[in-house]
């Protein structure tokens, strides 16, 4: 009997799986269909009207179908160079954050955990704010100093939190890690506040990063982020069984044959890598990483093998829709949209759902 099957049996015994839950495969198919529909909608709509037929034509021609060009070059530029990379980036970032969020929630056995819980957000924000203050303009792969420093800041702060919190001190390892994350995050937040105070007229740029946004998306940036996010997310999904084991507690997981320390370190590293790459290209997009995994668990129960892929699909759908809303409302920060639309939706679901689960 495999680790996964046993741990799943135990997980079921502990929290119960909703009776008559729809099959995960069916849900995944529905989700992918919805995602495809959302992609078409998001590419078709924008501040400039491009006829729907033209949009489809441009996309089909771009993937090599022999279709005559009946549209203007400007329409083609808008669809292929502006909207498509942006929508694909939203899919990557939304999906990646949802997977990372699910991983952090499982690892820390804490329903309030999100991808930013171990200092990633404050580290990235401080890195970005410092980059704004440094008058250095070199750009590589469409990535400026801001993206590089926010990526590095996110990884660095998680590394510090892990080193300091691993011992646990007087607390159990997980509590120690969470508290260390909180302390380091507070310290970094103070640094961020100081940097923002010094930023003067550049404050707007820092704010834009803190609220998240996809307006800077481009093919080159996607080429940087996509391998990290997709690779990291797939590696996490491949470890879903380990995550199920860890969900039962360290001892139980150890009895199931999981090398708890090692697997926890690997999963933390992967989830942090995914988060850092997402944050570097899109800023601090909130809510998706916290809520998408919960929404999925409410439907299919806590089995990580179902939760992780479905959360990725749902996260992608949510962020593409949120970014579409942000664009149509005049480039307002996408983080505002995810929270304003997401929070009531989440509340409604919490109230309307009877099948409980625990982390």
């Amino acid at each position: 009997m495999s680790i996964g099957a046993r741990s799943l049996a135990l997980a079921r015994a502990r929290v119960g799986r909703p009776a008559r839950a729809p099959s995960a495969g069916v849900l995944a198919l529905i989700g992918l269909g919805v995602l495809a529909c959302v992609i078409v909608a998001a590419v078709a709509v924008g501040s400039v009207a491009v006829a729907p037929g033209d949009t489809v034509g441009i996309l089909l021609r771009a993937i090599g179908l022999p279709i005559g060009r009946s549209w203007s070059p400007a329409a083609e530029t808008i669809v292929l160079e502006l909207r498509l990379p942006r929508v694909l980036t939203a899919i990557m970032v939304g999906g990646g954050l949802a997977v990372a969020g699910a991983a952090f929630q499982g690892l820390l056995r804490n329903p309030l955990a999100d991808p930013y819980v171990l200092g990633t957000a404050s580290g990235a924000a401080l890195g970005a704010a410092i980059a704004v203050l440094i008058p250095f303009r070199a750009v590589f792969l469409d990535l400026g100093l801001l993206h590089v420093l926010s990526f590095a800041g996110a990884l660095l702060s998680v590394a510090v939190v892990y080193r300091l919190g691993r011992g646990g001190g007087p607390f159990a390892p997980l509590t120690g890690l969470l508290l260390t994350g909180y302390a380091v995050g507070s310290l970094l937040a103070a640094g961020l506040a100081m940097t923002m105070f010094l930023a003067g007229s550049n404050l707007r740029q820092i704010f834009a990063f803190l609220l998240g946004g996809l307006e800077g998306a481009s093919w080159l940036r996607l080429a940087f982020a996509a391998p990290l996010i997709a690779g990291g997310s797939l590696a996490i999904v491949a470890r879903a069984r380990v995550l199920n084991g860890l969900l039962l507690g360290e001892e139980a997981a150890a009895h199931l044959g999981v090398d708890v320390r090692r697997e926890r370190a690997v999963l933390l590293a992967l989830a942090s890598l995914v988060t850092a790459a997402a944050v570097a290209v899109a800023g601090l997009v909130g809510f998706i990483g916290l809520v998408a995994p919960h929404l999925v668990r409410l439907v299919v129960g806590p089995d990580a093998r179902r939760v992780l892929p479905l959360a990725a699909i749902l996260g992608a759908i949510l962020l593409v829709l949120a970014d579409l809303g942000a664009r149509l409302l005049g480039e307002i920060p996408v983080g505002v949209v995810t929270a304003v639309v997401g929070a009531p939706f989440f509340l409604a679901l919490l109230r309307g759902t009877r099948s409980a689960y625990e982390l």
Partner: protein, 357 residues
């Protein structure tokens, strides 16, 4: 006590139905809605190529406001030191700052301006032009949709560097301007005029502006007064905001016969009250007068009564729109500031505008 509930639809249906409803709404919008159409119909919404071959001659507006022929492709260096090549005479110009819009109109390129910002208000004709900047956010898609063949942007963070980089990556030439003093504004007038193919008009405008500046400078020098310490108030509702060091308004106040009190930093625009008290302004200019700040309010602020300006009642409103806009009306701002600093000053009459709108 355990509460029991009647059987409900599984949560899954609830979730799915909401997501599907949202998405169907989205797809419906995709199929039918055409927000912010820039042309009369979807097929003509996209006006001209941004990156492709030049427009056929028939599609371009037939007459140009100025008969002079600049030679294109034209290579220029903008205020950030970027070399910009403009392939053909620009017919669809987008201006991302109110000041550069004013420059374009003043040098006779107004009819070719196809995109402006939501802050543009001068000349009044700009109100009819498509807005591509709203609340500081540049709508790159709309600029591409307009078929822009030249974009004039503001440097030093006025327009987001990301948007400028994106426009350039799409092959649209972008000239970034930033003036740190009045001479810099004149240079920008000539730069923008040249980029728009109106170099001669730009040179003529600058020589006229330079003449007016010299006349004001002569009048200020003739008055011979010691420059008073001037505090220009941008806002004081919460923190006190004034000009940073080394910006064009700093230079303007000097040229208008004042000694500006600035923040002591090139990037910070706020000044602590303590520092302002030590600097002891002899004259307070209210750039926020348009927002309802009055001299009486200033005098009543706690701590302000010890300032020389408050004691002598030297608190005067000025038109901040004029002062804060580094465009061709900068000399009007200079004139207004000189008169605000020394109301007894006699300035030469304003010459009639030499260029057509």
């Amino acid at each position: 006590m355990i509460r029991t509930r009647a059987r409900r639809r599984p949560a899954g249906f609830f979730l799915i139905s909401i997501v599907v409803a949202v998405v169907l709404a989205g797809c419906g919008a995709g199929a039918t809605a055409q927000p912010a159409t820039v042309g009369p119909s979807p097929t003509t919404a996209i006006a001209a190529p941004a990156t492709g071959t030049p427009l056929p001659a028939s599609a371009a507006p037939s007459q140009s406001p100025s008969p002079q022929a600049a030679t294109y492709p034209l290579s220029l260096t903008d205020d950030e030191g970027t070399a910009v090549t403009i392939p053909t005479r620009p017919m669809r110009i987008v201006s991302l700052t109110p000041a550069t819009t004013e420059i374009l109109f003043a040098v006779g390129a107004g009819s070719r301006v196809k995109g402006v910002t939501d802050a543009d208000d001068y000349p009044p004709a700009v109100k009819q032009i498509t807005q591509v900047v709203k609340l500081g956010a540049v709508d790159v898609e709309k600029i591409v949709g307009l078929g822009a063949d030249l974009v004039i942007a503001g440097g030093n963070g006025f327009n987001s560097p990301d948007s400028i980089a994106k426009l350039r990556s799409l092959g649209i030439p972008v000239i970034v301007v930033y003036a740190a003093d009045v001479a810099g504004v004149f240079h920008d007038v000539e730069l923008v005029a040249e980029a728009a193919g109106q170099a001669a008009a730009g040179t003529a405008l600058v020589s006229s502006l330079q003449g007016q500046e010299d006349a004001i400078a002569a009048a200020v020098a003739a008055a011979g007064a010691r420059p008073p310490r001037v505090f220009y108030e941008l806002d004081a509702t919460k923190q006190i905001y004034t000009f940073a060091d080394g910006i064009v308004q700093d230079d303007l106040i000097r040229k208008a016969g004042g000694d500006p009190i600035t923040t002591g930093s090139a990037t910070v625009f706020s000044i602590p009250l303590e520092k302002l008290l030590v600097a002891d302004p002899e004259l307070i200019l209210l750039g926020d007068a348009a927002y309802g700040t009055t001299p009486a309010q200033v005098a009543a602020r706690p701590g302000w009564s010890v300032m020389t300006a408050v004691k002598t009642g030297a608190i005067r409103p000025v038109d901040d729109t004029l002062v804060s806009r580094p465009g061709p009306r900068i000399i009007e701002a200079l004139r207004a500031l000189a008169l605000a600093i020394d109301p007894a000053l006699t300035l030469p009459a304003v010459p009639a505008p030499s260029t057509a709108p």
